[in-house]
Subunit: 554 residues, 2 copies
Amino acid sequence: MHKESEKVKVFALGGVDEIGKNMYIVEDNNNIFILDAGLMLPENEMFGVDAVIPDITYLIENQERIKAIFLSHGHVDHIGALAYVLKKINVPVYGTKLTLGLAEELLKSSHPVKHYDFRILDSSKSINIEGTKFTFFKVNHSIPDAIGIAIHTSQGIIVYTGDFKFDQTPINNEHTEVSKIIKIEEQGVLCLLSDSMNAESPGTTPSEATVGQQLLEVISNAKGRVITATFAMNIHRVQQIIEAAEKVNRKVAVAGPPLLKNIEIASRLGHLRISKDSLVTLNEAKKYPDEQLLILTTGDQGEPLAALYKMATRTHKQIKIEKNDTVVIATSATIGNEKALSRTVDAIYRAGAQAVSERDGVHVPGHASQEELKLMINLLKPTYFIPVHGEYRMQKAHSDLAVECGIPLKNTFIVEKGEIIEFINGVAKKGGRVPSGHVLIDGLGVGDVGNIVLRDRRLLSQDGILIVVVTLDRKNHKIISGPEIISRGFVYVRESEELLQEANENVTEVLNKCLDQKINEWNSLKTVIRDSLSGLLYEKTKRRPMIMPIIMEI
Amino acid sequence: MHKESEKVKVFALGGVDEIGKNMYIVEDNNNIFILDAGLMLPENEMFGVDAVIPDITYLIENQERIKAIFLSHGHVDHIGALAYVLKKINVPVYGTKLTLGLAEELLKSSHPVKHYDFRILDSSKSINIEGTKFTFFKVNHSIPDAIGIAIHTSQGIIVYTGDFKFDQTPINNEHTEVSKIIKIEEQGVLCLLSDSMNAESPGTTPSEATVGQQLLEVISNAKGRVITATFAMNIHRVQQIIEAAEKVNRKVAVAGPPLLKNIEIASRLGHLRISKDSLVTLNEAKKYPDEQLLILTTGDQGEPLAALYKMATRTHKQIKIEKNDTVVIATSATIGNEKALSRTVDAIYRAGAQAVSERDGVHVPGHASQEELKLMINLLKPTYFIPVHGEYRMQKAHSDLAVECGIPLKNTFIVEKGEIIEFINGVAKKGGRVPSGHVLIDGLGVGDVGNIVLRDRRLLSQDGILIVVVTLDRKNHKIISGPEIISRGFVYVRESEELLQEANENVTEVLNKCLDQKINEWNSLKTVIRDSLSGLLYEKTKRRPMIMPIIMEI
């Protein structure tokens, strides 16, 4: 048997096989290191849920062994769960300046964290934590200051790319550091964990610079106002929009406080250049003619679209899209929001404005395509390969690419979250699991909304609820008050008086029958009411509302 | 002033600016003719709704003037509302054999219609109804027996294309009848209503035959079973799958009674060829080795995907996807179901099977692309142009194409549903509106689910419901029983006893305060309870469940 301290373990608590919610764990010398702490937006069937984070039971149970959290970059799918993690675990957080700047903002949000230990990384220097060395390399992504992380474990080097692409003409002139990647390879790479988000796209991802040219063309050809929408954290995109506006002498008005805050942080840290003259408030903007204005609006994930939709349907408080406006949607249609995108574009056209979107070249992905993914594999020549970040079929595609590049199939692992890959004497094998899963955030609740609550919300959303209240005199087996029947989300009450009256008579009848038989067991009474009513309602409406009998007694 | 009888009117009750739910009206000599009667699937936010049909108030109010319904082809987005219309209006229905065969099936469904007057069309012959002549031309679409309709009105000819494309190698050898279209043009076309679904796609739509070649290649290369999914009503696709199976000597097992019924109807009417030897039941299928089997599974819209997902996650009753299966998804990812598609493909890969989908060439659209749309416009040379069927931006794109082809911009109308285009002395203008909108079908209810019910379902789906019941003695101003607090979809009750206890005390306290002040007005009591509780719950949970105070009195 090998001692635990002789093994190196790698596993995911989130991020494998899920968009967003990235969190990977590397254990070396019995010490635990956390790579990223992201959140995921809820899916459609997660009714009322605000966000989803990884299950960190394992981390809480082993917190004395956790030595650090490393953040690869400042997107919410990599840093959004930090507040929840730090509330449970007190551990230093390492990241570059911009990443920690943005993370700090997030810690002030709805689940605020007061005490934290942030340590700014210089990506050119290495860090040593209890015998494990960490080195870093800069990568291109849709946000500046993004890094890949090399963990020099007792079994060899494990490389985590974070989100990356190889942009040959990056707008901040900082390239993915190939020379550093080569240096890591020269020491021998045990295992590569690489970004799979775009593994189904052939070729190479276009440079962010192509977006800049396109934006400039669109903005300089616009006759009236230009309204642009992008993700608040896509700092490169924001920079390019501002630059294009400045080139054609348009003032920039920013809508929404979160974006202003991000612009402020990124400017302060030198990652965003904007001249003071260019920025105006929405109020000041009114003084300028349409053709001298650009309005910048953003939000997280679905929000930019939601804001544009409101502007186009004239339900937005501050901005209404008018005829002659040019609306630039500089974000992607991620899986699941195509409908929202198409509805928004429709509303913009209907308002008489022009819509410009991804297909017009004003968006490119921040993730490497197949040729770049193969380049990363060939540069690092890892013994083992684990695709991370992306849905199952993307990871499958990425794993196929690794095999194409000469990694033996048996050395590639597509892992489920919680599944441990153990390295012993340089050899990898699957080695058990740790607890893993979704933890749902709803309001202040973390994890208190589970399957039962979600099932009820789903049922309620389908056919509503019907509440039957009756007050009984237990001793004399008599109805004293009621039955009262109240429904919500079932039928339009004013037009269904007859049906509800019939339901009332139905309940009275079955209840009196039970009471005549001296049935005193409240639960049986409830079951009888529920069965009888649900039969009646289904027959009359073919609907199955949730039926809630409530018996009060005196 | 012109008499009503001297005008020709054209408008849409559905289908303009909506995918599905097609229904267009032409009025000539004061007679009303209905073109198609389709339904639409509910959108995400239409909780619990089964289907959406057009508002036919106008038709009901003017039913004595309605002379006929014409169906262009047998897809649900063109015939799905027929049952609801025929229940209100007794009027002859014209269509080709297959279209009426499929429509007849639909009339047996959840809202059955017993008496109807179906009249089979021979598309080579014209029909005369009270002075209005109708002629027809065959068109290619993803279902056989589809037609375009020319209405020879007192103001000129109005052409409704139905859904169409120009397939140069149609699998049933029946081409869109260009010669007939030319004959119509020779008489002069007043107005063209043309299918906009694919108006954003440049070039021409590939032939259905390309799918056949691809299917054959995939099926002949498959090592194990082949499982194919397609829409039940895509008869051409079903035909091609069957032919490919027969060519490589695979038996065909059909899963699902609706598909079997459609196959039976289409075969009987000569639109589907399948040898008796090829068909086996799912039970018989078990006797054949994997490589001699093809399983055909279908449904409407989202259903094929839902069935595949169950098969892949092993929750389907009859079929489980196994390693070595090849799963062919021969449908498109329509807007809004991309997420379902990607989840299904993921589950198939995870089950160890191979997934083949649209991007592999096993699906092509049934609608004309830009070059074909321009061809139709140029063949018919209409004076006026109205794009129909498709979202707003598709109609916008289609209208741009018409202008490119030389139709003056002022002669193209993008109309909202209900908006009337009037033709007087051969000149068109907008002429008022008729009532129009969505009618929601939920179970047996047609139109009884409206905004209030939907709003309640949405609220219930977000944070659930909290019911507070208390029995009061009105005379003595005393609580006799309760308060009882019951919640569903709000919090997990077992872990929230403390919160619910606190809520209970809160209600008791504010209620006693009111009763002490002799407040006897039930509505004020309810408001007090609701306000106090919602404040408490939001503070503690940041959630806003629906709060339902119920006061019983004795």
